[in-house]
């Protein structure tokens, strides 16, 4: 986090998943790694695609699309895993493509309306950005709506407790 960053601003990493652009707080991000087939686990919900080796730590890999109740992502060359830290636990999320890192103001974040994802609660808010990378990709010029993911709500243990 740079020292020039004001307290009401934050950096988010944006990425695409299906038709949507999502963002997560930079502060939670540990690393972005290429897709590598994880070791599947028995007896877990299907959105947990398995575990992978992150520098000696066993980290679960979650298919974010399945986790949101969508059809599973198709793995392609730009598929990657966002490794994040949620509540001291590490998890990797499979996303379609990482887009950009953008600076947003907290005041620009709008509360999430009833967005059509399986669980509205996992969306912390909406923010409009003017990232050229994303605009070019989306063929738009008047800004792009980014869905901010609430990683805490995605926390694996909670969901799994219910599933067990």
């Amino acid at each position: 986090m740079s020292s020039t960053q004001a307290s009401d601003e934050r950096k988010i990493v944006t990425f695409s998943l299906g038709e949507q652009i999502f963002g997560i707080d930079m502060a939670s991000l540990i690393e972005i790694r290429e897709w590598d087939e994880p070791t599947p686990l028995p007896g877990v919900p299907s959105y947990i695609k398995g575990v992978t080796n992150l520098r000696g730590t066993v980290v679960p890999v979650v298919g974010l699309a399945e986790r949101l109740g969508w059809t599973p992502s198709v793995i392609h060359a730009r598929s990657c895993i966002l490794v994040v830290n949620v509540d001291g636990k590490q998890a990797g999320f499979l996303v379609d493509e990482v887009a950009d890192i953008v600076l947003i103001k907290d005041s620009e974040i709008r509360p999430a309306p009833d967005v059509e994802v399986g669980e509205p609660s996992v969306i912390a808010g909406l923010v409009k950005t003017t990232s050229r990378t994303i605009e070019a990709a989306q063929g738009s010029t008047d800004g792009i709506m980014v869905l901010l993911l609430d990683l805490d709500a995605l926390a694996l243990t909670r969901q799994l407790d219910l599933a067990a």
Binding site: P40, L41, P42, G43, V44, P45, S46, G56, V58, P60
Partner: protein, 761 residues
């Protein structure tokens, strides 16, 4: 209070905990009859350091009580109070109160009521004065020698300075030089007169009726006598030593100027059958059996405590011999009892030497320790784990020839040794968790009036520190439960034809990647009808539910369940076993219950041995690698056609030397549906042994390798998964899952727990 002081205080409390553990172990040993000097001294030291620290931190109540306790221990250590079972019992109670005091000082519990115990301790001290401190009041002892000298610290340093100067061994003062007495027997002191040689061997019973041979020796000392030899030939080994018996004999050289009658007078009140021999020459055979000592008589308090019951002082003997200085200027005698002082400064070195011995002994008892922040240890462990993994990556990439060329095998061996050592740093004997149980049982027995003995086995089983810390609470609940619900009252037990005293067996053992901690009582067993009725009453199960015995037993662990007739202080609030189960499951373990009506109940905590290495067999299932703990593996079978036969649509058995064993296809268990096409002949069957299901065959595709793997927990970032004991990182950096055989083949492992989904190809 500053942070620094808090830190130091925290260390003090850690030391208290260690001290308490040592003291309890020692007291328990004493209660079991081991009253050796080392044990008593260990307890004394532990209580003493608690007192010292408590004083430094201003814990007045703790200081006061530990001081009282220490007083008694000091007397016991010095042999002036015999560690009889009664005394030991008082000390055990005092220990409990001491532990409470420590907890109170920590602020975790209220100040205990110690008045009764303090009074009991004082009583022990006082009783000694009446019943056992024979030397003091004995009027028969002719000598005016102050008893206090004998009563002192076993090393008896005080009298040394008091009496040395006048009775220098060279006897310069009273001597008249007579040239014709230049005798070979007195090579050093040429100008000494021919002295009296007094041999005094008190009879065995010399200490009976308040007799005190030491007083006679002291009286001779008053006459200018010097101990020249101590006869140890009758001294038995420490184990056989009777504190009430006299074993030593002395050869005392009394200056020739003393009248024979004066010497004889000293022996007026000697016990019958004692040997008293007064001659005016040096008898060679006495010298040969006795040990010459250059030290003046005043140093005698060191060997002296022998007639006084003082096992401690005797225990010092071997150590003293071991100190190199002791053998210095005087010819080294194998049985040198006293520190032998070099002649010129006859006294001073003695205390120094004893101090050294003390230090040395302390080292033998308590190995040196160093406190290390646990996070540093964990970091080291992780790094070593990485090193091991890198090592196996290298091994994978290099041909055996290249491995030899770069000396990889040597590197691997070193790495393994480092890893073993680091592992052992974190592993602690489970004794630490068990140590609080005896105390708890004493409290519980007192509260319930039930008599319980504890049998502990496997307490040296080493478990990761993290696990030890977390099983404390579950263990407490299990023990309480066993006493409160398991063991019956003495009357009921006698009526059932059992001994009045119940037994709780506490055991720990390691099997593969799991630690089994068992609490077994020989009580009434689980009253299943009552448990069921209670569960129905509490709405935990439906009235018409059909439950197996095992399911009923498991109800004990259901939240809110309690069958106690009355809510006792101990258990019955209906949270106990529920807490046990949730705590153990949080550790990635499980609780097993086995109960036989009328015979007793056994609770088993099956815990993971986290952060450990596992000797494993790497097997392949549908292309994926798994680790099978080698400890579970009995044998591997390549099935012949027809050897594996289906029994039901899903069940199969393997015929093995006339026996039929069930076979599980792990591919099915884990939902690798696509692999069913593989025939048994193309597979391998690994016969594994499980605690609950006996021998079971597991069908796998192939065996890859056999190696040690580092266990990585799954719940660090996920949650425990039934059937898996964790994961490991293989040489190529990929992850292999470790199978938990017990959970996979045990009867409580319903296959439908593993849904067909969940394995993304």
């Amino acid at each position: 209070m500053s942070d620094d002081l808090d830190d130091i205080q925290a260390i003090f409390f850690e030391e208290c905990a260690e001290g308490l553990a040592t003291a309890e172990a020692g007291l328990s040993a004493m209660a079991d009859g081991d009253v050796s000097a080392g044990v008593i001294a260990g307890v004394f030291r532990a209580v003493h350091s608690i007192k010292g620290g408590a004083g430094a931190f201003g814990h007045a109540a703790l200081t006061a009580f530990s001081h009282r306790f220490e007083n008694v221990l000091d007397e016991v250590r010095a042999g002036r109070i015999a560690p009889t079972p009664g005394v030991t019992r008082v000390m055990l109670t005092a220990f409990d109160v001491l532990a409470d005091h420590v907890a109170a000082a920590q602020g975790t519990s209220p100040l205990p009521a110690d008045a009764a115990v303090a009074a009991a301790l004082d009583q022990v001290l006082a009783d000694r004065g009446v019943a056992e401190a024979a030397p003091a009041p004995v009027a028969a002892a002719p000598a005016p020698a102050p008893v206090a000298v004998v009563e002192d610290d076993p090393f008896g340093f005080e009298p040394v300075t008091a009496s040395v100067e006048p009775f220098d061994p060279f006897g310069f003062e009273p001597v008249t030089v007579t040239l014709d007495l230049l005798d070979d027997a007195q090579p050093v002191v040429a100008d000494a007169p021919l002295p009296w040689t007094v041999t005094f061997v008190p009879s065995d019973a010399a200490l009976a009726n308040g007799g005190e041979p030491m007083l006679i020796v002291r009286e001779l000392e008053m006459l200018g006598g010097t101990i020249t030899g101590v006869d140890l030939s009758r001294l038995p080994s420490l184990r056989d030593l009777e504190p009430e018996h006299a074993y030593l004999g002395w050869t005392i050289s009394v200056p020739g100027t003393v009248e024979e009658s004066a010497i004889g007078d000293c022996f007026d009140f000697v016990a019958p059958e004692s040997i008293v021999d007064i001659v005016r020459e040096i008898s060679p055979d006495i010298v040969s059996t006795a040990t010459p000592i250059a030290a003046p008589l005043a140093v005698a308090p060191v060997p002296a405590p022998a007639p006084v019951p003082a096992p401690v002082a005797l225990a010092e003997v071997p150590t003293l011999i071991a100190t190199p200085i002791a053998a210095a200027p005087v010819p080294p005698m194998p049985a040198a009892v006293a520190p032998v002082a070099p002649p010129p400064p006859p006294v001073r070195p003695a205390p120094v030497r004893v101090d050294e011995a003390e230090v040395q002994r302390t080292h033998e008892v308590a190995a040196q320790t160093i406190r290390v922040d646990l996070t540093k240890l964990d970091m080291l462990l992780n790094l070593v784990g990485e090193l091991v993994i890198r090592g196996s990556i290298l091994a994978d990439r290099l041909s055996p020839k290249d491995q030899e060329r770069v000396e990889l095998p040597q590197l691997s061996r070193l790495t393994r040794e480092i890893q073993d050592t680091v592992m052992s740093l974190r592993a602690q004997p489970i004794k630490q968790a068990f140590s609080r149980v005896p105390r708890m049982l004493r409290d519980l027995s007192a509260e319930t009036g039930k008599q319980v003995t504890l049998e502990t086995t496997g307490e040296t089983t080493e478990v990761d520190k993290g696990v030890i810390e977390k099983i404390g609470d579950p263990l407490t609940h299990m023990i309480r439960n066993a006493v409160d619900h398991g063991i019956e009252s003495p009357e009921k037990r006698l009526a059932a034809g059992k001994p009045a005293q119940g037994t709780i067996k506490l055991s720990a053992e390691q099997k593969g990647a799991r630690i089994f901690v068992r609490v077994a009582d020989d009580g009434g067993g689980i009253d299943r009808a009552r448990v069921r009725a209670k569960a129905v009453e509490k709405g935990i199960v439906a009235p018409d539910a059909v439950l197996t015995d095992e399911e009923i037993d498991q109800l004990i662990c259901a939240p809110g369940f309690s069958t106690a007739e009355t809510i006792s202080n101990i258990s019955g609030r209906g949270v106990g076993m529920d807490v046990v189960r949730s705590n153990v499951e949080a550790l990635g373990g499980r609780v097993e219950i086995a109960s036989t009506p009328g015979k007793g109940t056994t609770f088993t905590m099956v815990l993971p041995l986290t952060l450990a290495i596992l000797e494993g067999m790497i097997v392949r299932l549908a292309g994926q690698r798994f680790v099978l703990p080698l400890a579970n593996v009995i044998e591997t079978v390549q099935p012949e056609p027809g050897q594996v036969r289906p029994t039901t649509t899903t069940g199969e058995v393997i015929e093995l030397r006339g026996n039929y064993l069930p076979v599980r296809r792990l591919t099915r268990t884990f939902g690798f549906a696509d692999n069913d096409a593989r025939t048994p002949e193309e597979s391998l069957v690994i016969i594994v042994e499980s605690e609950t299901a006996g021998h079971v065959g597991l069908m796998v595709d192939t065996i890859d390798d056999r190696r040690e793997v580092v266990i990585k927990s799954l719940d660090q970032n996920l949650h425990p998964i039934r059937g898996l004991g964790g994961a490991t990182i293989l040489g190529d950096g990929s992850i292999a899952l470790i199978l938990d055989i017990e959970a996979l083949v045990g009867p409580s492992a319903p296959l439908n727990r593993y849904p067909q989904k969940g394995l993304a190809a």
